[in-house]
């Protein structure tokens, strides 16, 4: 098959393959490691602040998101994501990065038209579909119980 006769098919031989297996492994290990760190925070909080485990877990999630925002501001989170892929983007830390990166990016257009309006540009879809899914599951749960 030549490039001239069927470009879209033939060109695939020239494109470097995405290493899906390695990427999945990295995402699994890094994503798991992040969750382990969050778990450690949760245990720490519930032990030292004597709060219920659920509150401690919520505090732990907030800590992870705060860390993600700090690393985003330092310009490191995108490098981390390039390595870890879904392990870095699919967690709540990744969601924090989506909001923080957009907020930073649009700071140059001001606080209202820039930061506030554009903040959800990268992370907005996660909120919309998160809420929709929560409602659907809620309705399903109501019908089944």
């Amino acid at each position: 098959m030549s490039l001239k006769t069927n470009y879209r098919q033939a060109v695939k031989a020239f494109q470097p393959k995405t290493p899906y297996v390695i990427n999945s492994l990295k995402a699994f290990v890094v994503g798991g490691a992040l969750c382990t760190v969050a778990e450690a925070f949760a245990n720490l909080y519930s032990r030292f602040f004597s709060v219920p485990l659920l509150s401690a877990q919520q505090l732990a999630v907030m800590t992870m998101m705060l860390l993600a925002v700090v690393f985003t501001g330092a310009g490191k989170y995108d490098d981390f994501s390039q390595f870890a892929g879904a392990g870095a983007t699919m967690t709540l830390a990744g969601f924090a990065n989506a909001l923080a990166s957009a907020a930073l990016e649009y700071r140059s257009e001001g606080w209202t038209a820039g930061v506030a309006s554009q903040m959800f540009k990268a992370g907005g879809a996660a909120i919309v579909y998160g809420v929709v899914t929560a409602y659907l599951l809620g309705i399903l749960y109501y019908l089944m119980s």
Partner: protein, 338 residues
């Protein structure tokens, strides 16, 4: 007749590049061509408040150093041709406020550099201008935010992605004898090979580059061996292999005397995926590095083919494919008069 064959302009008069100027960002200055650039910034903001202002400053500085090196004043410029990648060509249009000459804005995506050189040379050849100023720019962060994502958003990019060059290049052309002569230009057709992946512009642009290069050989009756170097603008590691394969299928063997500006500007270990891209890629490598190589005598005759992917985020979201265009210009070294 100045039109040779279908798409090639052969200039009747002697048209020269009299001076060039280049300004680049930190990563480019850290690359293998650092000595070739006139101005290098160690900060991506280039001392400005926003990325867009930084890009504007780069173009302004490239023009300034170009005029200074050529000892040319703004009053000598009959027309200014410029373009960039941003919406409404804001870099070029805002820079034009400071250039007291008639202005034509040009857009050919990353093919803009050779588009301005070709049109500028044609205006001079046709007698519509004596001296033409051409400039183009791109900035990694302005391109990222317009075409892709916020710069700090964590996204895993594929190996086919390219890295937009931060920089600007300017050139002054005229009838007055200079060190480089512009002898011909081949204007490309828009070719859409049907690919739709904005993270693989090499595959999208290679057919347009091959079309322009092949047509150039046909129009002038030349062959690859007639050029010391055939150089494409920003096909990168992926597209540069494809374009050679496409030309080989048409019977043109382009191997040793071929290179791509996107492969020359960075070191492989600079984390730039498949290589450099953007309007500035072809501009700073050609105006900075390649013309110096010609001056040094390492190259006599080169064919610079700037390649542009004519996409927009809206068209990509509407699942449209990527049209591409490539414009080529032949530059020859002028021997010193004894």
């Amino acid at each position: 007749m100045k039109l040779a064959g279908k798409q090639t302009w052969v200039f009747e008069h002697d048209i020269y590049i009299q001076a060039t100027g280049t300004a680049v960002g930190p990563l480019e200055a850290d690359g293998p061509l650092r000595e070739s650039f006139d101005i290098a910034h160690d900060d991506l903001y280039c001392g400005e408040k926003t990325w867009e202002l930084a890009e504007r400053r780069l173009m302004q500085e490239a023009i300034g150093v170009c005029l200074q090196k050529g000892n040319i004043s703004f009053s000598d410029i009959d027309i200014f041709l410029a373009g960039d990648l941003l919406n409404q060509n804001v870099t070029a249009n805002y820079v034009a406020r400071t250039v007291p000459a008639p202005f034509l804005c040009m857009f050919g995506a990353c093919a803009t550099s050779m588009q301005t050189i070709a049109v500028g040379a044609a205006l001079i050849d046709g007698g519509f201008a004596r001296t033409v100023l051409a400039a183009t720019s791109s900035h990694n962060a302005t391109a990222e935010r317009q075409f892709r994502y916020p710069t700090e958003l964590g996204v895993q990019k594929p190996k086919t992605a390219t890295f937009t060059v931060t920089g600007a290049g300017a050139a002054v052309m005229g009838r007055k004898r200079g060190r480089w002569r512009i002898t011909a230009a081949t204007i490309g057709k828009v070719i859409d090979a049907g690919t739709a992946n904005p993270f693989d512009m090499g595959s999208a642009m290679a057919p347009a580059a091959a079309s322009t290069i092949e047509q150039h050989f046909i129009d002038l009756g030349t062959s690859p061996a007639d050029y010391d170097l055939i150089v494409t603008g920003d096909l990168s590691r992926v597209g540069s292999v494809i374009v050679r394969q496409l030309l080989a299928e048409s019977g043109y063997n382009v191997t040793d005397n071929y290179n791509d500006c996107g492969l020359m500007i960075y070191r492989p270990d600079q984390n730039v995926f498949a290589g450099g891209s953007g309007c500035a890629c072809c501009a700073v490598v050609t105006y900075g590095h390649l013309l110096k190589e010609m001056e040094r005598g390492a190259l006599q005759k080169i064919f610079v083919v700037a390649t542009g992917a004519l996409l927009s985020p809206t068209m990509m979201q509407q699942k449209q494919s990527i049209p591409a265009v490539a414009h080529g210009v032949v530059m020859e070294a002028v021997k010193e008069e004894r």
